[in-house]
């Protein structure tokens, strides 16, 4: 039984078929890439897995739980975390708070415990604070813990988004174009980081990326989407030599 099992996933936006008959089986520990031209439906697949949209058709099973119809926060609590193609940090909040918010589902105290500052609240808050700071330290954001998130340089904002996702303690991490807008030096750092967190937190990762260097460099298996259809699947070498993939990309380049 795979960790994540997606069968016949299809999604329409009105008349537009954004994803069609998408399949995916993920074994624990895998690092799988999804590539495809703009508008291929990659982000939509993430949105369907994480409950942002409800699929028109298809089933998504995660460790035996059916995810279709669940709210996003419930899905995240089951152990799936994600980042966003365009950074979506809580801009006006501190770096520490950004990470602590991701502890929401794990806090067990109620409103009354909080407002009256009962011992349980004090204890859990101290624990949350410490764990969040530990994670920030580990991710190399210790100096910036009290900064406002929007004041971080771009590369660190990306890093914070990953840290925030990790704070939900996921088993499966979905990264949506983490290298977007980065320079070659930052990209190399990012690749190293992805592999490091994968080891350190024992993660299964799905990675959407336009930077071929990243995908070909670290993914074991790649799926290629075009106009919502899966047009190829295989190892990086297989994908690089697949005529349909080349056509899809050449077709795009001709337009650009």
């Amino acid at each position: 039984m795979p960790m994540l099992r997606i069968r016949g996933l299809t999604h329409y936006f009105g008349g537009l078929r954004a994803v069609h008959d998408f399949h995916l089986d993920l074994e624990p520990g895998e690092l799988v890439g999804i590539i495809g031209p703009n508008g291929a439906g990659k982000t939509t697949v993430f949105n369907l897995i994480t409950g942002v949209y409800r699929p028109t058709e298809g089933e998504i099973l995660f460790n035996g739980h059916n995810l279709v119809g669940k709210r996003s926060d419930q899905i995240v609590s089951l152990g799936i975390a994600r980042t966003f193609q365009t950074i979506r940090l809580f801009k006006n909040l501190s770096v520490l708070d950004n990470v602590r918010i991701a502890h929401f589902a794990r806090a067990s105290y109620g409103v009354l415990t909080a407002v009256f500052r009962l011992p349980k609240y004090v204890r859990e808050e101290a624990e949350t604070r410490e764990r969040a700071l530990e994670l920030l330290e580990l991710m190399g954001l210790s100096e910036q813990a009290t900064w406002v998130a929007s004041s971080l340089p771009y590369g660190l904002q990306r890093r914070l988004e990953i840290a925030r996702a990790l704070a939900t303690e996921p088993r499966l991490l979905l990264l949506d174009e983490p290298a977007a807008g980065m320079n070659p030096g930052e990209i190399a750092e990012l690749m190293e980081l992805i592999q490091w967190i994968r080891q350190r937190f024992d993660l299964t990762i799905v990675l959407i990326e336009h930077q071929m260097r990243v995908v070909m460099g670290i993914c074991e298996r790649i799926k290629v989407l075009d106009f919502g259809e899966t047009i190829a699947e295989g190892t990086p070498v297989e994908i690089q030599n697949n005529p349909r993939v080349i056509e899809a990309y050449l077709g795009e380049e001709a337009v650009v």
Binding site: V52, Y109, V115, E130, E137, L138, S142
Partner: protein, 367 residues
């Protein structure tokens, strides 16, 4: 969002701050509680040295602080735009009044009413809190301007329902309340409100609330149960509005549905945005400045209602974040949340970890 600087205020307060910093830590820890106690004693004896008019102004200031701080939770911290706060205030005012005027005396508790006053307020607040659900449930699906309209409709509905219940006076209003609200009582309720709201704001729920303001979708994607947060926020805000309503009813001793119209809600909105969103200190300032200002403008008669809105417009144009937008007074931040405490904790964690293992690649250096 860019934050306005508070240079003027901080310069004025700098000497005080310096004096405070020079105190030994144990003294410092007890400074705030001691000051609060001293002010309580002053409030308790205020009737003997403050005239009735200024007592009344102080009471309104207090009531407005409660209203403003609680509305700030919804509008400032959660980033929704509620324009119906007076609706909740009305529920609290009528329920508390009915208790002290009818229910308690009918149970033969007539002479204990002054002692039962807090209980009446509490029940009024709970009733108002319950009605907070009326807004909380629609807020799951409806947001932004449309939720604002829902709150507006709510305010109008409450007013209209009250106008149609003849038993409680209908449009003529309800009276017979004793003058139970005193400066000391209001002071106590203000302290309770601010303290409880502060604790809420610096908890899991408070952070969830802020995250909804910042980005609701991202917040649910980092495990925040936004429904739970919304219910909490609307119920808590409505609860305190209800308390304020009860206090209000027992100072003017006569309430009618018109006292809780959309104009009242607008007043509270003005105080929230004057003081600044996402700030309890701002709520205290906003409510105080606005209430006192309107009193000082009293000689202008009708024209003061012209000056008020004009000031509001100018404020929004030249200082759209209010006096304290998203900043907080230091003493309102729990000690363990202050920047230096967090920094110290971070330092400890770093040393502990450095002794054990390496951090993530390429980290730390870029700050």
């Amino acid at each position: 969002m860019k934050r306005p600087s508070l240079s003027f205020l901080s310069r004025v307060l700098a000497p005080l701050r310096a004096a405070y910093e020079s105190l030994p830590p144990p003294v410092r820890r007890w400074t705030t509680p001691m000051l609060l106690a001293v002010f309580f004693v002053i409030a308790l004896f205020s009737p003997s040295f403050i005239n009735l008019y200024w007592q009344q102004v102080l009471i309104y200031v207090g009531i407005n602080i409660i209203l403003t701080a609680s509305l700030n939770l919804v509008n400032g911290y959660m980033g929704e735009f509620s324009v119906g706060h007076a609706g909740f205030m009305a529920v609290g005012a009528y329920v508390a009044s009915i208790l002290t005027v009818w229910v308690f005396p009918r149970w033969g508790l007539g002479e204990y009413v002054p002692y039962l006053f807090p209980l009446a307020l509490l029940i009024g607040g709970l009733a108002a809190g319950l009605t907070g659900l009326v807004i909380a449930f629609p807020s799951f699906r409806t947001r932004g301007d449309y939720l604002a309209i829902v709150t507006l409709a709510w305010n109008m509905i409450v007013k209209s329902v009250l106008e149609n219940i003849d038993a409680i006076g209908g449009p003529r209003g309800f009276m017979g309340m004793q003058k139970l609200t005193s400066v000391a009582w209001v002071y106590v309720w203000v302290i309770i409100t601010i303290y409880l709201l502060r604790n809420l704001v610096y908890s899991n729920f408070g952070r969830g609330t802020l995250s909804i303001r910042e980005d609701e979708i991202a917040s649910s994607l980092v495990s925040v149960d936004t429904r739970k947060v919304k219910i909490t926020v609307f119920v808590v805000a409505a609860f305190f509005a209800g308390i304020a309503g009860g206090l209000f009813a027992h100072i003017i001793q006569f309430i009618n549905p018109r006292s809780f119209s959309i104009l009242k809600s607008t007043d509270v909105l003005v105080m929230v945005y004057l003081g600044g969103i996402g700030s309890l200190g701002g709520s205290i300032l906003g409510a105080t400045v606005y209430t006192v200002l309107l009193e000082l403008l009293r000689p202008l008669q009708v024209w003061r209602w012209v000056v008020g809105p004009l000031l509001l417009v100018l404020l929004m144009i030249f200082r759209p974040y209010g006096i304290m937008g998203m900043r907080e007074w230091r003493f309102l931040i729990p000690p363990e949340e202050r920047v230096e405490t967090v920094a110290a904790l971070m330092e400890r964690i770093r040393r502990k970890r450095e002794a054990v293992a390496a951090p993530a690649p390429a980290g730390g250096s870029s700050g």
